[in-house]
């Protein structure tokens, strides 16, 4: 018997064009602008251990990366969140406008921009950052909201260094039981128990399957 869908006819939006990596080889290693910003951020964000590589001051960092935050958000989005599949449809969360680049915030816990940058730059081993991802379910009584949130959390948990703090929230006003869903998604005991549930784990695995590469 076919399952009844919560949202039978979702509006499908286009995928945002991927940021194109500048792969042109720069042979001259002493050239003035040898730093591929994107590559650096790929390294910083994707690696499980941030390398103590760029011991730069905040001013120096901004000099190299004036669009530091924009880049950071964009990379987190493109690398971690956009391709998660909707639990009901063969579309990605991006195509359904459930998440967009605007939905990710990164903060260091003290909100000091320069501390945040320095932390990345010199990689103090136990400093952590907070990632806050907000998402908008396609319909406001969507019972899939918890699953989508769980998928986003799992994706980030698996992709980011373990010391990063992750908060997942529904976009304000986007869901009938917003507070309850938020509370559940940010209770790590419930998340841990949910992921030990074979049925839920399977749904999450399907949503995170890399079919949109």
């Amino acid at each position: 018997m076919p399952r009844e869908l919560i949202n039978a006819n979702p509006v499908v939006h286009g995928k945002k064009e991927r940021r194109v990596r500048n792969d042109s080889p720069n042979i001259d290693e002493y050239a003035e602008e040898p730093i591929d910003q994107q590559e650096i951020f790929d390294i910083l964000i994707m690696q499980n251990h941030i390398i103590p590589y760029y011991a730069l001051s905040f001013d120096q960092v901004l000099q190299y990366w004036p669009n530091y935050y924009e880049l950071l958000f964009s990379l987190i989005f493109s690398n971690h969140v956009r391709d998660i599949k909707d639990p009901e449809h063969p579309y990605s969360l991006e195509e359904l406008n459930v998440v967009s680049e605007d939905s990710i915030e990164v903060n260091d816990k003290l909100n000091h921009r320069d501390r945040f940058v320095c932390v990345i730059a010199i990689a103090k081993p136990s400093d952590h950052f907070l990632y806050r991802v907000t998402f908008t379910p396609t319909v406001e009584h969507c019972s899939m909201a918890t699953i989508i949130g769980l998928c986003i959390r799992v994706k980030l948990m698996r992709s980011l260094p373990s010391r990063y703090k992750i908060d997942i929230r529904l976009a304000p006003g986007s869901h009938a039981t917003e507070a309850a869903v938020n509370k559940q998604l940010n209770d790590k005991e419930r998340v841990a128990a949910a992921l030990e549930n074979p049925n839920l784990a399977e749904v999450v695995a399907e949503c995170l399957a890399p079919t949109f590469a």
Binding site: P125, S126, K183, K188, A192, A193, E196
Partner: protein, 339 residues
Amino acid sequence: DGNLALKEIQKLEGHTDRVWSLAWNPATGAGGLPPTLASCSGDKTARIWQQGSSGSWNCTAVLEDTHNRTVRSCAWSPCGKLLATGSFDATTAIWQQIGGDFECVATLEGHENEVKGVAWNSSGSLLATCSRDKSVWIWEMQPGNEFDCVAVLQGHTQDVKMVQWHPHLDVLVSVSYDNSIRIWIEDGDLNDWSCVQTLGETSSGHSSTVWALSFSSGGDRMVTCSDDLTMKIWDTTNNPSEDGSWFHLCTLSGYHDRTVFSVNWSRDGIIATGAADDSICLFHETKDSLVGGQSYSLILKKDKAHDMDVNSVQWNPKEPKILASASDDGSIKLWRLTQ
């Protein structure tokens, strides 16, 4: 006491997933028995750690192949002979040391889903368990490691995160995802357990999940901690079995900036807290003679006590300057509070 410090004595490694909970064996650390600590983890095991003659700590037993999901909590019976472990697999196991090995001598089944907390009463005759199924069960120990369920306590509207008994009275406290704290006693005439008081937001209680509680050694104070980032101190002088009620004394806020998962009151009167901000805080009561009341002040904050969330902090009952902490980073740390 400006020179207080929390010095790491040893880091205990062995668990392969987050460590949820710790319990000191109350019968050890004296009379020739080496100090013993139990831990439990998302790796589905519990571990026993013991201090050797050289002073260093080692894992002496791994309690495995019994729970098939996360082991969420553990508690020693007051005599130190039995260890109870509560698991997401909905069961509670009772372990006994037989020879050199720990054997599972009883399995308590009944909860519908994840068991989140286990606690023995002061005489060791009763064991309380709590679950995501919103209920608290009280089990009575019978001869031969038999456990009879004598009460199922309904009242919480969401998961029950932790249960704990009063240190001298058979008064049980439960804390929940429904933000409330409930106090349960046995009605002597009816042989039935009932909730005599609910400390919710309207009783100056917490505004989000209450994760843990701890009593002062005298039993006249209780502290609770929450996802609302605060700790609350309650006056528990009055005996609920004699119609006495408990009330809010004060709220400690502004010390942790993420969920406070664990709180523990030492025999010396120092409150330790562990939180998702990776830090441990210590508080002490200060008599405020001007106001005529008590207040609690921070005496130490250990930032980055662990690489990840601190899930449990427990003072050693025999050596009250020794603190154990457990973390999502998979490690347990032993600390000494020095002056």
